[in-house]
Amino acid sequence: MLPRDLKPEQFSGYPPEARRLVTGYIGALQRLPLSFVPSLLREVIDYDFKFPVERKAVEKELANLKSLSAEQIDTWFQAFARIQLSPKLESFDWINAPAQFVEQLSSYLWTTHQLDGFRTAAMGYAGRLQAAVPVEPPAMPRLGITVVGQGVGMYEEALFRKLRPHGAYFSRVKPENGLNQLLGAVSARAKANPVAYGHWYIDGGVAAEHDSAVTCVSYGALEPARVTLLRKIQSESGRPGMGPEALRTVMAQLRPADLGLGKASMGNASPDAVLDRFQMKVLTEGSGTQIFSTTFAQWTAREALRRAQPLTLLVRFAPRQRQKPMNELLSSTSDRVELDPVGSLMDGDMGAYYNWLNQQRLPGADQSSFLVWFEGHGEAVAVGPSMARGTVSNSVAEIGQLLSWMS
């Protein structure tokens, strides 16, 4: 089955809005190579569960593809057309299972040494798309905040080494009531610019009290889902012939309800199908998110930035469980979870850098600001157009002052 043979009725298994969208662009899709189309359909099939920003992006991309002339299609996609695919891939049901096709395609590209060619083709396409479909600037300059080091007392090593060159380092921030001040700032921004999924709070532990207008995802609230998922993984892994790729396929077929998500009792006033799907994907697609809270916090932030492109994002790292050494592994099973606050601080330090990097990939980066703070302590780095790079301040400052200097 090749894209040129696409027909509207083949999308009958798609969710309603996705079906409505894609059937308006069959003609455009028919002109494209198989090495490209399933990647796009992987986005389209989830349209009903996408954040508003993502929906707009998919709509604009499809509209752009429709507008291209035959010559432009040749130019834009010649690198994709050069990718040789196997008969097995061509006969795969890539319309209804585009994500699984992309997984198999990835494996095939590695095996046939075509991955570098595909990567070049993909980057070329992304560049052309960005030039053809200008992105809208954000409704207000973005603000990212990362809080690290919960539960750490003394710490002698230098923090924020990767971020310091990009902003101002403060050594004497008054820590009292710091988290509440930051949550208050997020709430104020959410009130000033009430955009759906525009303002987020991600907590690697149990979420602190926060404004209900803020989208909240926490490791603590997802514990029942994580436990259910780990049990499912264990039981699937015990089946004969189950391998990592087959396991990934099983996980890709899970629905939020399979993990107990989607109930009003999960702390939400009402189920949110879009957020439930997001949370499920964080747990099923993010390596390590099920077992280490620091990985959960960083990956969730990465996905929130990439997909929802929030105007405000506050990420708070919490202590993760300790990796168990061999003598403990050998001695007994223990259900007691021991935490590693210092290791978690190191994770959060790098995680903060990655949060800033990912925020800077979004439109309006030149106006965006970023703050990282060692919770309960005086160290922070503030990055933004109004902050001098590579500077150090040893003056006493309030967190609220840092936020106002950054805005």
Binding site: E245, S287, G288, T295, W299, L329
Partner: protein, 373 residues
């Protein structure tokens, strides 16, 4: 090339190395002992991928103090080893062992398709099975000792020791030790069915001369699978003194779980364990003065700058940083304190071993590395 230039500068300033190609004459060449002992080679694969910024870059050198201070000054160091194959640990290590970019399924327990260095070594030099060994921490590596190539038969390769398997057998398995069979942190519950080549529990005593109790007691003092592997490797060196020994380390692969501190801890531990093995080589009578040690990662990890990846966590993008890594050689016949920038490939290792030990790697894709011969 930019990566190579950075590495070269870091190493020159921090480890006091000189550029290869210009000062060869003045670099000390480690000569073999005057009484000719049989040449031996030990290969260590460094852990499952580590990036420059956590190792040889200025900010990363604090994580590899033993490599920087002890090993590199005694080595010939190659700054650009470019892996053009599949960036999966088992298939990449198999490629290192065969000198061919293998395309076998990374997650299946399959032998390489092309002859391994162990098969070339044993067939050409008529060496017994006891003279070539692999110590691997991961169950997925159990078939790496020999290929299914038609020109070589079953039993003509290296014997493979899986320390985790030994330990599980010694402790009678059970739910308490399921984590010991954890292959990697990306697929924590996956363990392919083991088949062929692994040593049975009853050989623990015959080959390694260890009682079960002794083994268990020692294992309790160790903190990681790679520490267990090095303990087993050292025991093997004492008892069997194989001429070709391959040790695959894997602790750094914890990076897949996304915890940066554990990735750094893995690098630091691997650094220390490499130094430990080098000390063993220098102190064991069968190895001192006649052994060449190679240390090299299978590949790197993704760059922070590629939005398709998640930085250190994985090696999925195929970008330059994930493909480009390094290699050091030290010991008998190797010049000390020299750096070479020209790109080489991991497939060059097996032909080089062939030139050193006297076997022909006839099916390998790579070429012997002249700077080491």
């Amino acid at each position: 090339m930019e990566l190579a230039c950075n590495r070269r500068e870091f190493l020159r300033t921090a480890a006091g190395l000189t550029l290869g190609g210009t000062l060869l004459g003045s670099s000390r060449l480690v000569r073999a002992a005057t009484v000719p002992k049989r040449k031996k080679v030990v290969v260590i694969t460094f852990g499952g991928g580590a990036r420059d910024q956590e190792t040889f870059a200025a900010e990363g050198q604090e994580n590899i103090p033993h490599l920087m201070k002890d090993l590199i000054p005694q080595s010939t160091f190659f700054t650009q080893v470019v892996n053009r194959g599949i960036l999966g640990h088992y298939v990449a290590t198999a490629s290192l062992a065969t000198g061919v970019y293998e395309t076998i399924n990374n997650f299946a327990s399959l032998p390489p398709e092309h002859p391994t260095a162990f098969e070339y070594f044993r067939k050409d030099l008529k060496r017994p099975a006891s003279d070539a060994w692999v110590v691997a921490p991961s169950n997925g590596f159990n078939r790496i000792g020999e290929s299914n190539h038609r020109s070589y038969g079953s039993g003509l390769g290296a014997r493979v020791l899986l320390p985790k398997h030994l330990l599980t057998a010694a402790t009678s398995g059970g739910r308490d030790f399921e984590h010991l069979l954890r292959d990697n942190y990306e697929t924590p519950f996956y363990a392919p069915e083991l088949g062929g080549g692994e040593i049975e529990l009853e050989q623990l005593e015959q080959i390694l001369k260890l009682s079960v109790n002794e083994f268990k007691k020692k294992a309790l003092t160790l903190s990681s699978p790679d520490e267990l592997s090095v303990y087993i490797a050292r025991q093997l060196m004492k008892q069997m003194a194989p001429s070709l020994l391959w040790v695959t380390m894997h602790d750094i692969d914890i990076a897949h779980a996304g915890a940066y501190s554990l990735y750094i801890e893995g690098i630091r531990r691997t650094d220390r364990l490499c130094a430990d093995l080098w000390k063993t080589i220098q102190s064991e009578p069968e190895y001192a003065g006649n052994t060449t040690l190679f240390i090299l990662p299978d590949f790197g990890r993704d760059s922070d700058d590629d939005s398709g990846g998640n930085g250190f966590q994985h090696h999925r993008t195929g970008d330059a940083l994930s493909r480009t890594t390094w290699m050091m050689a030290m010991g008998a016949g190797i010049r000390e304190g020299v750096v070479f920038d020209r790109p080489i490939e991991p497939t060059d290792l097996v032909p080089t071993l062939g030139s050193m030990l006297g076997f022909s790697a006839s099916f390998a894709q790579g070429k012997p590395i002249g700077e080491l011969l």
